[in-house]
Subunit: 188 residues, 2 copies
């Protein structure tokens, strides 16, 4: 019988992050993670399909935050402006208090090609979802996929800048600067 | 003892593509592929690390084509102009005679999330390489990663348009149109 454990998922996720970072992702088993917080491997698998998914829990919520941003944009906003709304909404998902956690997660993913592939798939799925939302607003192709892809590039570049050790600005500010850089590049 | 087989790699690759498309990637083994062209599984593994890699052979050459394009751009070209040079060079890698093969490969990859992840990793690796080449030309950050990422988005959107059943234009023309769309989006 599997008992309900208050906060088990959060405790498992926190322990996993710590172990993946200190021992390495490959060197850590689901049993190691469970043991670190006094739970069983079976309980681990109640919450996560595999040890990779610990790093990707909440992906649907993450995506929804961008889509809510798209929905909040004025009807007459141009496609890249709509995408900018999505990114501003996403910035609220990454407050400065979360930067340490995001840096740790990023360092784990960067050290493992399989995790990098999974992260890229997550971002490609996000791009597809934003493109779909743009089409739903009447944006035609290829403008919808192009605006979505460009938006995800701006997000990714900004997010990596935000994670850099010497970066102190909030993500929303970094994104605004990156959008400016993009417009400058396109005008050159 | 493994004998040298003339054209073995090409024959294996062609048979793999056909079997992955007809039976499904998961349902096809390396032994099936080898058998289809009268070779042994052992010979298959002389040429390919695993059955996934059949679809990604030539990645280094693919990347080099873009980098040669970057190198061919005039010294005073703006970053996105340099990226446009890279894409034009890449278009030569995908002549119209190759469209059928590319469509088949794309249909196999689209049907399998693991292959999609691998393809995304290939494109991210390409983006990193182009960003590195831009930095080598004196482009600073974040302009280098942003221009490279935007260029790969333009390439990917164009490549998918080029593969569409109703698309007849050469890849270079589709890319030029997509670059125009991007500039229009950025100016709106």
């Amino acid at each position: 019988m599997v008992r309900w454990e208050p906060g088990a998922q959060e405790r498992l996720a926190a322990a996993a992050l710590e172990l993946y970072a200190s021992r390495g992702f490959e060197q850590t088993t689901a049993a190691d993670v469970a043991q670190a917080v006094g739970l069983t491997e079976r309980t681990f698998f109640r919450y996560f399909a595999d040890k990779r998914e610990v790093l990707f829990a909440g992906q649907e919520h993450f995506q929804q935050v961008f889509l809510d941003g798209v929905a909040a944009a004025p009807d007459d906003a141009a496609p890249l402006e709509v995408v900018a709304f999505a990114l501003r909404a996403a910035a609220a998902f990454f407050p400065d208090e979360r930067r340490g956690h995001s840096r740790l997660r990023h360092s784990i993913i960067s050290a493992n090609p399989g995790l990098q592939e999974r992260e890229l798939f997550k971002m490609a799925t996000l791009s597809d979802a934003i493109a779909g939302a743009l089409r739903g607003r009447g944006v035609s192709e290829p403008q919808a996929v192009l605006a979505a892809g460009t938006g995800v590039t701006v997000f990714t570049v900004s997010y990596h800048r935000w994670l850099a050790p010497d970066e102190g600005r909030p993500l929303a500010d970094v994104q605004a600067a990156t959008f400016q850089d993009l417009r400058a590049l396109a005008h050159a």
